[in-house]
């Protein structure tokens, strides 16, 4: 059995982070950390080196696209999430370098995995 894929959850709402951890762990992801803002996310990516980052678009200090632009070449796969629709960010998502976008209500391990290589 291969080891579980490591994932970092970045969202400023604790209740969502809590639910997302439960859902992703239940679907076999290893949640190795959480961050509640952009700076926190960049710092956690550097220190925890997750394979996947579940990144909320709307963060208190900067948005998810700004976080993506600050990640280097060897950045992990990033999946954007938001309580809004993907159509609200049409164009921004494809240009951001993220693997894809999942609406928060539709989050599941399968949905994340389907976006990974």
């Amino acid at each position: 059995m291969t080891s579980a894929t490591t994932i970092l959850i970045v969202d400023d709402h604790p209740s969502f982070r809590r639910c997302a951890r439960a859902v992703l762990e239940a679907d076999g992801f290893a949640v190795i950390g959480e961050a509640d803002d952009g700076e926190g996310a960049i710092s956690a990516i550097g220190s925890l080196q997750p394979e996947v980052v579940l990144l909320d678009v709307q963060l208190p200090d900067m948005d998810g696209f700004a976080v993506l632009s600050r990640l280097g070449e060897d950045a992990p796969s990033v999946v954007l999430v938001s309580s809004r629709e993907a159509s609200d960010y049409d164009g921004l998502i494809s240009a951001s370098g993220a693997r894809g976008f999942i609406s928060k209500a539709d989050l599941s391990g399968a949905a994340v995995r389907s976006l990974l290589p």
Binding site: H13, S15, S83, K104, L107
Partner: protein, 845 residues
């Protein structure tokens, strides 16, 4: 007649009369000798006097005519011949001389035969040609009673009856012709002027006498030969003497010259010039005209203008020059024109006297001219003596004083005529103080004239000196300026009225010249007050300096446009007060003429600073409303996103997890369901709060009290409220609610207060019914609406209902917010538009 012709005629005369003399001397004339000698003498006299007259007055045909008479007369001498043929020829031609004689007598004294008299000459010519011829053809002894005379050489019939008839016919016709001439001469004499009568009188007398004698002789010869002969002698003597009369008339000039010496003496004796000249020229009708070089017209001795031409009818004018210039003219009888030499000699003798008289006449003419000017001039002219009595005055004085008639003014003191009683004493004193020099002065006085009319006269007076330099009279010239004064007064009233209006109106009025410089007294009271200028300082200042830099170009263009006559449309500029405060003025520039007619630019404007400020406030208020609306929308979106949406997303995940756990791990699923219920409950709470924030439903349904109680319940700081149960229009209730809610939210956020009091009350001052909302806390104070605490939004809301929001928030002294919102009367009101609709602005933060 030329000298040569005259010489030839004289030579011919000498020849003829020499021949006649030979005949007379050689022939035996017997009884006829006396007659023949008389005939001969008469012919010689005519010839000689005719030659003298023609030589002396070559231009007058009289001499020539006399000469002709003398020459033709000589033919009659042929009758003296013994030879029958010569005698008969002489008889036939003997009367031919009456043709030039008739011509001579009817032409005298001018020498020109009047056209009307030509037929007489022709008739005479026919009679004196045919008459003697008929006699010699019928009568063998044509000269009745002449025994020595030869017989007619031409006789055709010796019938004594026929001869008698021919002789009678000839005599009657001759008598008729003589009568015709006679009548003509009498008429002419009667129509003549005295000088002419003097000239023609003797000639006519001799002629008439000769004619009468001849006619009588002719008629008598048929009865008595001796009487006829006697009458014939008489006629011949008359004829022989007649040339002397002619000569006397023609040469009268020569004789009259003797009178010139008398003229000089008469002038020396002081005889009036005209009388002396009339005597010298023998023309009592003589008039004199003097040439006024100054006026270039003829005047009489009194200086009165004479109508042109000065000579008319029977008169002729002879112009007299003295020293090469025209001085006068003699208007005399036309016949004197024939005596040019006499007139010229008289004129030359009296030349100096003419010049003197002319100067006097001119002086009189000038005097009359001046008198006319003075009397027709509208100016008043008076001459007063040193006692102040009016000695002379013109017509204008009578008119202005209302005292018509010279006697009503003359001799009165001028102050009785021109000075009102109230000022009279002062005038008399001034007049006496001016004595004895009476220096030239000017003054203006108003008086009531005799007709009760008020007159205003501007006087100039100057002294009139005698030869020793003493003042003898004072001349005062006045102009009646009553009308001018009245117009000036009218104009002044109009000006005062315009100035009063200009100073009373709140608009600004500034008058500038073409360069924009303010003209003297060129601003009204409103401008001076509003812009803190003194009129004296403002004069000459450029209007452009009174305008803010940014608006200077526009103002310059407006002034230049108006200076070119183009009225400018209204514009708004910032004008500067003396202490550089800006006022916004809506103004125009209009071309005008000032009272002197100089082109100016009228700048008139109204202070719209307050209006502009209010407009700006309205604009800002609108912008704030939009901004507040936008902020409210953003806040709502954020709240939904951060609150209910996150909860519902988490709830969705929890349910998904529960779903996945349910058959595997019931305990975990139950735990997840509990979490989900908790999320759902919180989501509901947040949505409810959000909805309440948009608009408290309870306010619409239950009014201010219950709505505010909800706020109080949720407030972390104790709140006491005092709210009436009364309902107000929805917009007012909404405004009151949001004032209280915003104030409470601020208290919670910033005031650090321990308690808050909210009081809403109705207020009715008798005129306006209002709702007053008061929120008072005991916090730290220092609230500032401009800091974006939401108070500004409340201000807009309250002011939109014509209400007032007052904030008292001294630092450390708590905060009192008081909104007074007028309640509309039933008929109209500011609150009406919002009735029934939710408020346009979102609620508190």
């Amino acid at each position: 007649m030329t000298r040569r012709r005259l010489g030839a005629a004289v030579a011919l005369g000498i020849l003829l009369y020499a021949a006649a003399l030979v005949l007379v001397l050689t022939d035996d004339l017997g009884d006829r000798r006396t007659l023949v000698v008389l005939v001969f003498a008469a012919g010689v006299v005519f010839t000689i006097t005719g030659a003298i007259a023609a030589a002396r007055r070559p231009r007058n045909a009289t001499g020539t005519q006399m000469l002709a008479v003398g020459l033709v007369w000589s033919l009659g001498s042929l009758q003296a011949a013994d030879d029958s043929f010569v005698f008969t020829l002489g008889f036939a031609l003997s009367a031919l001389a009456f043709v030039p004689f008739t011509w001579l007598i009817l032409s005298y004294p001018t020498g020109r035969l009047p056209r009307d008299d030509r037929w007489i000459v022709a008739a005479v010519a026919a009679i004196v040609t045919l008459g003697p011829l008929s006699v010699v053809l019928t009568d063998s002894t044509p000269i009745t009673g002449c025994a020595d005379c030869p017989e007619s050489a031409f006789v055709l019939s010796d019938d004594a009856g026929l001869a008698r008839a021919a002789s009678l016919a000839y005599a009657l016709l001759a008598a008729a012709a003589a009568l015709g001439v006679f009548v003509r001469l009498v008429r002419r004499y009667r129509a003549s002027t005295p000088p002419l009568r003097r000239v023609v009188g003797p000639v006519y007398l001799f002629t008439l006498e000769a004619l009468v004698a001849l006619i009588a002789g002719g008629l008598v010869s048929t009865v008595s030969d001796s009487a006829a002969l006697w009458l014939e002698h008489l006629a011949l003597v008359s004829l022989a003497l007649m040339p002397v009369a002619f000569l006397a008339g023609i040469l009268r000039t020569r004789l009259a010259r003797a009178g010139i010496a008398d003229l000089a003496i008469a002038l020396g004796n002081g005889t009036p010039l005209r009388d002396a000249l009339a005597d010298a020229l023998g023309d009592p009708s003589l008039r004199l005209a003097y040439w006024s070089a100054q006026r270039e017209e003829w005047v009489d001795g009194e200086g009165m203008t004479l109508a042109e031409p000065i000579a008319r009818g029977a008169n002729a004018a002879t112009v007299v020059n003295h020293g090469g210039t025209r001085v006068a003219a003699l208007v005399h009888d036309r016949t004197l024109a024939e005596q040019r030499e006499l007139v010229d000699a008289v004129a030359a003798t009296a030349g100096l006297a003419f010049e003197k008289e002319r100067l006097q006449a001119e002086l009189r003419a000038q005097y009359r001219f001046l008198e006319t000017i003075i009397d027709t001039a509208p100016s008043l002219l008076t001459v007063v003596d040193t006692e102040g009595r009016i000695r002379n005055f013109n017509r204008a004085v009578e008119i202005a004083s209302g005292l018509e008639g010279r006697t009503r003014v003359e001799g009165r003191h001028f102050w009785e005529v021109f000075i009102d009683p109230a000022e009279r004493e002062a005038m008399i004193e001034r007049f006496r103080a001016a004595a004895p020099d009476f220096p030239a002065t000017e003054y203006e006085n108003t008086f009531m004239n005799a007709n009760g009319q008020e007159r205003v006269i501007a006087w100039h007076s100057a002294p009139l000196l005698d030869e020793s330099g003493d003042v003898v009279r004072v001349i005062a010239g006045g102009i009646d300026i009553t009308e001018r004064k009245r117009r000036e007064l009218d104009l002044q009233r109009q000006r005062d009225f315009a100035n009063a209006v200009a100073d009373a109106i709140p608009s600004f009025i500034v008058i500038v010249d073409h360069d924009g410089a303010v003209v003297p007294a060129g601003a009204n009271r409103a401008f001076l007050d509003a812009f803190s200028w003194a009129l004296s300082k403002l004069e000459g200042t450029s209007f452009l300096e009174l305008v803010a830099d940014d608006d200077e170009f526009s103002a310059r263009m407006a002034i230049a446009g108006a200076a070119n006559g183009v009225p400018q449309s209204e514009r708004e500029s910032r004008w500067l007060t003396r202490d550089d405060q800006e006022r916004i003025v809506a103004w125009t520039a209009t071309p005008v003429l000032d009272q002197r007619g100089t082109a100016r630019v009228l700048v008139s404007g109204a202070d719209v600073t307050e209006r502009a400020r209010q407009e700006e406030e309205v604009r800002a208020s609108r912008a704030r409303i939009v901004a507040a609306t936008d902020a409210a929308r953003r806040r709502l979106e954020r709240n939904l996103h951060d609150g209910a949406q996150q909860r519902l997303a988490a709830l969705s995940l929890s349910l998904r997890l529960t779903e996945s756990k349910l058959p595997v791990d019931v305990e975990a699923a139950l735990e997840s369901l509990a979490a989900a219920r908790s999320e759902l409950a919180q989501a509901l709470d947040e949505l409810r709060e959000l909805a309440r924030g948009l608009h408290p439903n309870v306010l619409t349904d239950r009014g201010l009290g219950p709505a505010l109680e909800g706020l109080v319940v949720r407030s972390p700081i104790p709140v006491t409220i005092d709210i009436p149960a009364e309902r107000f229009p929805p917009a007012i209730e909404a405004a009151a609610y949001y004032v209280a809610a915003e104030a409470l939210a601020n208290v919670v956020k910033y005031a650090q207060a321990t308690e808050v009091r909210v009081r809403i009350s109705g207020d009715d001052d008798g005129e306006v019914q209002s709702v007053v909302v008061e929120v008072v806390d005991d916090g730290i104070g220092g609230a500032d609406p401009s800091r974006g605490s939401g108070l500004e939004g409340l201000e807009d809301r309250v002011e939109s209902l014509d209400g007032v929001l007052e904030i008292e928030s001294p630092r450390g002294g708590g905060t009192r917010i008081r909104a007074t919102i007028p309640v509309a009367r039933p008929e109209s009101g500011p609150a009406e538009p919002g009735h029934g609709n939710p408020p346009p602005v979102a609620g508190p933060h």
